[in-house]
């Protein structure tokens, strides 16, 4: 049966808060309702792109795979790591976990970080140095070739994160990865979902304020998929159009709402529930 199958990090699936069921609020669920097609979401918050590759290869070799599936792949931060020794793949962004919170949030992660964190940080900074990091180019090359060989499938690649400082040159090489009959890449850094998320704040200080609030008080961005509902709805509309009309011309970064959050008081006011 044809399905929407999603790979990526928290921009794809919002599973930070295990205590609260919020999957029905994600753009993935809304897209599934919009198109009346079931969805399988393999996204896991905090994960790196090699984890998504592992899950993708597992999926296309499973009984669940259908050759007419709609694959939506949200690329993640290029310095996130993935190893088979990790107790949880969200440790791909281990460096973002404040030490004091780890024990409370993920009880089996602190041991891995204590034993591996120093080396993992070295790998992140050195092996995944943005000026020699081709992770994004490599993975979208694979997806384009896979789409060419699986012509009944539809493959959409969304850029999750901005380019990293130092990675600007390599980022331009993505221009070689162009749209195909069933392959729809949205790869420019300016089109990243992180850009939409960031632009919801009227200035960068407010964004930093929210991150500080999330990290030390709440533990998680209250915006599901790091986007406010109005922008998730726009994302769903654009994805539905890309799928229906077979063209990335239906992507438009300027349609997304900016400056939703303009004061600290407003940010505080939404801190008690997901939005």
């Amino acid at each position: 049966m044809k399905k929407i199958v999603i790979f990526g990090d928290s921009f794809a699936n919002y599973d930070f808060n295990k205590k609260t069921e919020i999957s029905h609020l994600t753009w993935a669920s809304a897209l599934s309702s919009n198109l009346n097609i079931p969805v399988i979401n393999f996204g896991v918050s905090g994960t790196g792109m090699n984890y998504h590759m592992v899950k993708f290869l597992e999926y296309i070799n499973s009984e669940n795979y259908d050759n007419t599936d709609i694959i939506i792949w949200v690329t993640s931060h290029e310095q996130r790591i993935h190893t088979t020794s990790m107790p949880n793949p969200h440790l791909g962004s281990f460096h973002n976990f404040p030490t004091g919170k780890i024990v409370n949030m993920f009880s089996d992660d602190s041991k891995w970080i204590n034993e591996n964190g120093k080396h993992a940080l070295w790998a992140m900074e050195n092996y995944y140095d943005p000026s020699i990091n081709y992770s994004l180019l490599k993975i979208v090359s694979f997806l384009k070739q896979w789409a060419r060989s699986n012509k009944h499938a539809t493959v959409i690649v969304l850029r999750g994160q901005f380019w990293l400082p130092g990675g600007e040159t390599i980022d331009t090489f993505l221009d070689h990865i162009v749209e195909g009959e069933n392959f729809f890449p949205v790869l420019k850094g300016k089109n990243a979902l992180a850009a939409i998320s960031f632009n919801e704040f009227s200035d960068s200080k407010l964004h930093q304020y929210m991150i500080a609030q999330n990290t030390y008080l709440l533990g998680v961005d209250r915006r599901v998929n790091h986007l406010t509902e109005v922008n998730r709805s726009i994302l769903v509309k654009q994805l539905a159009n890309i799928i229906t009309h077979r063209s990335t011309s239906y992507w438009g970064i300027n349609e997304y709402k900016k400056n939703i959050y303009t004061t600290k008081q407003y940010i505080d006011s939404i801190s008690s529930s997901f939005c």
Binding site: N50, T83, T84, N116, H119, W122, A123, Y127, I132, S141
Partner: protein, 269 residues
């Protein structure tokens, strides 16, 4: 100007310890001579797949690139690392012995400071189970070959020790074309041609025990010539079938006497 451009490790450029004179008898020099084309060899002994890929992009976006160039990319062991702080890219080779006398003071200093984390990276991040570099880089070259049709693109594979579980995907999604010749299945590796020169693995391991392999590009002259012939055939006939591991000479070294050639003062074979 049309050129041959080569990327890879010691199978591409045998430049260990500044013994650049050894490269005069490399298969790449012979290929350039027979095609009467200039050669730029970006290969570096011991270097990693990502190092080669990075050098490719540096070249491809530079004034050196020509739309008629013949680009040959040897995909080495994907478990090798490369980071910018390495004084020499050959430090990314697997199982580096930091005490080895051939390391420079800079090399030893880097190893002292970084080797634990470098080894951790090799074992954990570049683990063949979750290492897709050969698959993904082959896909990237396939895409470029389609966009740059006047170039000739040849992919060769160094060994089959790593990432072998992903071969089935390579065969499913990376196909040859009129200008793209990927020899990346696990049975057509240059390392296999190299080890097949010995009648037993035990004999092959003996040369590893004495240090530097005296065979330029890890192939004896007869097989360097065969490699040159095969690549020449691929370029001139555009026939993917013209490269085959079975065309290399096997069992050149079968006895202890045959192995004498690897002893005594350094002399390239």
């Amino acid at each position: 100007m049309k050129k041959i451009i080569l990327f890879g490790d010691s199978f591409a450029n045998y430049s260990w310890f500044d013994k650049d004179e050894d490269t005069r008898t490399s298969w790449a020099i012979e290929l350039a001579s027979r095609l009467n084309l200039p050669l730029i060899n970006y290969g570096l002994s011991g270097s990693s797949l990502i190092y080669s890929f990075h050098k490719f992009w540096e070249y491809f976006k530079s004034g050196q690139y020509d739309k008629d160039d013949i680009i040959i990319f040897i995909m080495t062991n994907p478990e090798r690392t490369w980071v910018r702080s390495m004084p020499n890219a050959h430090l990314g080779v697997s199982n580096v012995d930091s005490t080895n006398s051939w390391h420079s003071a800079k090399d030893r200093n880097w190893l002292e400071q970084n080797q634990d984390s470098d080894v951790w990276t090799k074992i954990n991040i570049l683990n063949p189970e979750i290492n897709f570099d050969i698959l993904q880089i082959a896909c990237c070259f396939s895409i470029l070959a389609e966009q740059y049709k006047k170039n000739t693109w040849i992919l060769l594979r160094m060994d089959n020790h790593s990432a072998r579980e992903h071969i089935e995907y390579l065969n499913q999604i990376v196909f040859p074309s009129d200008n793209f010749f990927p020899y990346i299945d696990e049975k057509n590796t240059l390392m296999q041609a190299s080890t097949n020169e010995f009648s037993t693995l035990e004999l092959f391991r003996r040369i590893l025990g004495v240090g530097l392999d005296r065979r330029i590009n890890h192939l004896s002259k007869i097989n360097r010539d065969k490699l040159t012939d095969m690549i020449l055939d691929v370029i001139t006939t555009k026939n993917i079938q013209n490269f085959n591991i079975n065309k290399f000479a096997k069992n050149i070294y079968t006895t202890a006497e045959d192995m004498e050639i690897f002893n005594g003062p350094w002399s390239p074979i």
